[in-house]
Point group: C2
Chain length 387, copies 2
Amino acid sequence: MSMNERRLVMATGPTIVDPKILRALSKPTVSSMDPDFGEIFKRALEDLKKVFMTKDDVFVVAGSGTLALEMAVANVVEPGDKVLNIVTGFFGDYFVKIVEAHGAIPKILEIPWGKPAKPEIVKEALKGERFKAVTVTHVETSTGVMNPIREIGEIVHELTDAYYVVDSVCSLGGIEVRVDDWQIDVCASGSQKCIALPPGLALLSANKRVLDYLEKRKTPVNFWYGDFRNWLPVMREPTKKYFATPAVNLIYALAESLEMILAEGLENRFRRHHIFAEAFRAAMKALKLRLVADEGCAADTVTAVYYPEKIEDLVFRNEMKNRGIAVASTLGPLKGKGFRVGHMGNVNQNDIMSTIAAIEATLKSLGYNFNLGVGLAEAENKILSLK
Amino acid sequence: MSMNERRLVMATGPTIVDPKILRALSKPTVSSMDPDFGEIFKRALEDLKKVFMTKDDVFVVAGSGTLALEMAVANVVEPGDKVLNIVTGFFGDYFVKIVEAHGAIPKILEIPWGKPAKPEIVKEALKGERFKAVTVTHVETSTGVMNPIREIGEIVHELTDAYYVVDSVCSLGGIEVRVDDWQIDVCASGSQKCIALPPGLALLSANKRVLDYLEKRKTPVNFWYGDFRNWLPVMREPTKKYFATPAVNLIYALAESLEMILAEGLENRFRRHHIFAEAFRAAMKALKLRLVADEGCAADTVTAVYYPEKIEDLVFRNEMKNRGIAVASTLGPLKGKGFRVGHMGNVNQNDIMSTIAAIEATLKSLGYNFNLGVGLAEAENKILSLK
């Protein structure tokens, strides 16, 4: 591999993976039925419950976050069911595609990119129809918008008996996700963002209401690899039951990462994410760059930034790369109009400051007019004021 | 992790993972859209085509081998379609479950465990009905039986226009799998057996006939994460297109492993598997142990062995484990009646001989009557005669 291995991954997932995690990942692979591995797997599952803040069942399945989204939908939806899909960006639309693939009928509540799904709009959309499920994205990775999951959950459960399905791929482990308190019936996440592992694990929670429903639904789950009932025995007695071969090495890494997360403490971790997100946004504003997410709904995990006029996407990102920092492009209708920075997982102050410094240097070299250092100064001020 | 990291993994998958692979696995995680990673991914895909022996498209997807089986079926089967499922053991039955989950109608051609699906029986089963697909397991991991994939393929294509779907999870990279020559329409495999990676990657091939069909099928594929059309742009232009986040570190390891496989040479690799399989089987027979697979259909990748009378499964496997060697239990109706040894992937002569030695020592300590060393001697003879 010829690539620069010291490149700072400030993209939107994968994020920066700690060397400790990489060492856990590369421990010798044992049999997936080995009881010693079972102990590691069991510990990972117990810790994952703490991170999801649930007493109910959690699932660790080989696959990407997209697989987690499909599992979440397929278990609670049957052909012909109506589903309210709250779409605030690129990944909200994934739920629509999945609902359609499984023969259900999506009703799309489309919110303009950059704006959140306000609870009163959701309330309105729920009126007059009976929905089997409501899907929503906690943090829309394409825009950096955070949706009010608790408040929407209250409305969904107050007005309907729909299953509340939440995509927490870009929030779990970085900002508050309270599965039990917020009455999230199925919560779908992935390993490669705030959990700060390499990609390859789908992480889910499902509550008793969902598992009860699975016993009485009219049609079988039309997704065998994704059927919670196939995985449940394995998740309750790791290595004593078999369904499909678990991703042994990624689970070593998961156990290690969750241990690091809980050692830091969830509240401390959320606070750290908040401080660096605020610092990054303050820097972008000081540079007179416009953010995609509206004030007040900006997520503490990822920020999408519009380019100023005359800055070319590929040129900008390539120059950032040459400065040793990977940032992401924007997606869909925003493609080419901005860039995205993931400030989540293991991100620290050095990472944030060097990213801002590289953005300043790159913009300056591309002819954008501003006083060098204003972004950095604003970020430092913000960090000092919040710490 | 407290486990014995020198334990020899002679289980049926994961298999022994080379330290070189573990080092590749633990390289720093970069962005999944990083062009440098794209080059590695592209090389892995090109090499994977060589291993599948196909000029058509291949797919590398985060997930287990079971996911690969479901992808294989879901793309070529629509609700109401009839599928002939050739079931020769535990994993053949997975296809039946998957066919049912996707609303199609399985016709099960059940072969007694330990016996292969003879082409003439398949011919008979195909008569009088129209099948959309025929599924078969190349090597049944539960029994160590190898089915005649080429011959069955000839019959399927001669008599029907069904899609020929083959599970090569326990054969690809260890014994001959000729996707193009054998007219396999979809071939589904995984990373953790003869490819000798940790578990976590589904590997598939699909030919033009399948991709053409996807454009004209009556109903949408009811599996979004598994729809070949969602992955095709990514597999043709890695990192230039996005669908779901690829498992970056496992793909580093895949690229490394495929390079090692092609450096050894496929024919040499098949020969190595054959020699050690023959040696292992000769040793078991010398010990008067009965094999599950009939003579003439024994796979060169895995062997299932019946216990002699009075040997308890858990006691045997635990004693093997204490001797530093992991072997697998038998499954389903054979549970408790035997053990399975995977002699595939990176297996070498030392691994085979120490496994046989540990089996001898364990059987002797459990009171089984035989002359110590007869298995080892027979294995050595076999290796000498075949090399």
